[in-house]
Amino acid sequence: MELPMSSPNRSHWLPWHATLVFGFLYLPIVTLIVYSFNGSGVGGFPPRDFTLDWYRELFTDDAIWNSVLNSLFVAFAAVAIALALGIPAALALDRANFPGKALFRRLVLLPLILPGIITGLSLLMLFREGGMKLSLVTIILGHGTALISVATTEVFAGLQKLDRAQEEASLDLGANYWQTFWRVTLPNLRLSIIGAALLIFTLSMDEIAVSFFLIGRDNTLPLEIWGRLRRGITPEINAISTIIFVFSLAAIVTWYRLRARAEGRVEIAAELVEAAS
């Protein structure tokens, strides 16, 4: 809600600053998109020769498609793991008291703020010691572990908005704890869970830092792109990046809408602040 007369910001430089920051944030992406259609390649100003060649090349690129499939596989599996563990974790943090709860909370949320290299390396050691070969499975385990924190924060936020009285009413009317959970709690968390799934899926598809260390023979999409980058820049990468951007955009806007519907206001920041402390 904006303040009319008592608005503290009669300063006029703020909107300009905001414009500059938005420009800074979006300029690289816009450049990327523009040059994905540029006939003379990645650099060079001004862009000329509009072409769809790079996209055409993309569609015949088997390695890219394979990596996309791998990424999808990993993402779905990661969502499954993260939700299967994140939902109970959120419930536990919200309702149960057990020894080591504070430590548990910090551990679960740690991967959100820890640099990916530490999560990745520590898991690498685990697999090494356990004699497990690196493959898509190890990547799935890595993503799942790192993204439990996202599931937990989303569902926890949803739990805060949940009306306890509904669960109490259910128990009062004769349902036991399990039935109440399936019939009342879970349906109310539906939007939070869907939102979490969407977010986890997107993050998993984009994940590179942890995957870097856990990669086996099969590449995920980000790692495939990374490999090519080491060899040199090609406009094909612009094309695939543009596609990634479009999908991410769609996913995030959808997630935002779901969240806004579930809670009336979006405050992911609040949980991140929580997580950092």
Binding site: A18, P115, L123, V273, A276
Partner: protein
């Protein structure tokens, strides 16, 4: 209120997973940091402090660490300088556009790190967009080389990535300030600038601390941006770790650095939490 079976079902699986995939790996990291590697590239599991001694003895490690911290510090400062006024504008000045602008800020946050870092690479290169643009409008006659493969490129890219991260907690903190406090301040004679200094700024500090912590910790441990854009002068501490796990094959030493980073990060988080509590007035 909940049955024991229910409680067990919601606590035990996550606890087990966390123990197995978070605690245990960190413990392994700890152990590895005290072991060593033989010339035949086998891990020797005898306990020694050599790795840690090595870190302090050989200059490059500490140098790189300090350079990394300096890069992280600059990223943090710039992210705050960009993020705070933006959060302020959205919270107080944006009116009906607030929701839309908020989405606009978080979208880049979730778009692939790789895509964004790559974008900067194409912009900053000697044949990149920026250089060719400058030459096209005759501002320069030859490419500016410092733009890419330098600490400058790393700071620029990481600022781009972490500004939204810094923005979020600051925005949340500003949104939580009850608007009647601002009216009260005006009522008592304080014009907008003084109101900002005396009321808004102090109450937003927990958000600033959280945002700064994010930006600093994540930049410090970053290895991708230096690899893509840093060049020889932009190497950061995580790059050393990566090479120790790769070509230079010295896992124990790498583990020592990693564990050191883990301890440092956890220490920073605790410090930040302490300060945030001190500055929180609820």
């Amino acid at each position: 209120m909940f049955s024991r079976a229910y409680r067990a079902a919601i606590t035990i699986p996550p606890l087990l997973w966390v123990a197995l995939f978070l605690l245990l790996p960190y413990a392994l990291l700890f152990c590895y940091s005290f072991w060593s590697v033989s010339p035949a590239q086998m891990i020797v599991r005898s306990w020694t402090l050599n790795n840690y001694r090595e870190l302090f003895r050989v200059n490059v490690y500490l140098q790189t660490l300090f350079r990394s911290m300096w890069i992280a510090a600059r990223v943090t400062i710039f992210s705050l300088l960009l993020g705070y006024p933006l959060a302020y504008y959205l919270s107080f000045g944006a009116g009906v556009k607030k929701d839309f602008l908020y989405q606009l800020v978080i979208i880049p946050l979730w778009v692939s790190y790789l895509v964004r870092a790559y974008a900067w690479k194409t912009i900053l290169g000697s044949d990149g967009v920026l250089n060719t643009l400058l030459q096209y409008v005759h501002l320069t006659s030859h490419p500016l080389n410092f733009l890419l493969y330098s600490p400058f490129a790393v700071v620029l890219t990481l600022t781009h990535i972490y500004t939204p991260f810094a923005f979020l907690p600051i925005y949340a903190a500003l949104e939580h300030i009850p608007r009647n406090l601002i009216e009260a301040s005006h009522d008592l004679g304080a014009p907008p600038l003084q109101t900002f200094r005396r009321v808004i700024l102090p109450l937003s500090i927990p958000g600033v601390l959280a945002g700064a912590t994010f930006a600093f910790v994540l930049s410090l441990g970053d290895f991708l941006a230096p690899l893509l854009l840093g060049g020889p002068s932009g190497i950061m501490i995580s790059n050393i770790v990566v090479s120790l796990f790769g070509a230079a094959y010295n896992w124990p030493l790498g583990a020592a650095i990693s564990f050191g980073m883990l301890v440092l990060v956890i220490g920073l988080l605790f410090l930040s939490e302490r300060l945030e509590k001190k500055w929180s007035f609820r």
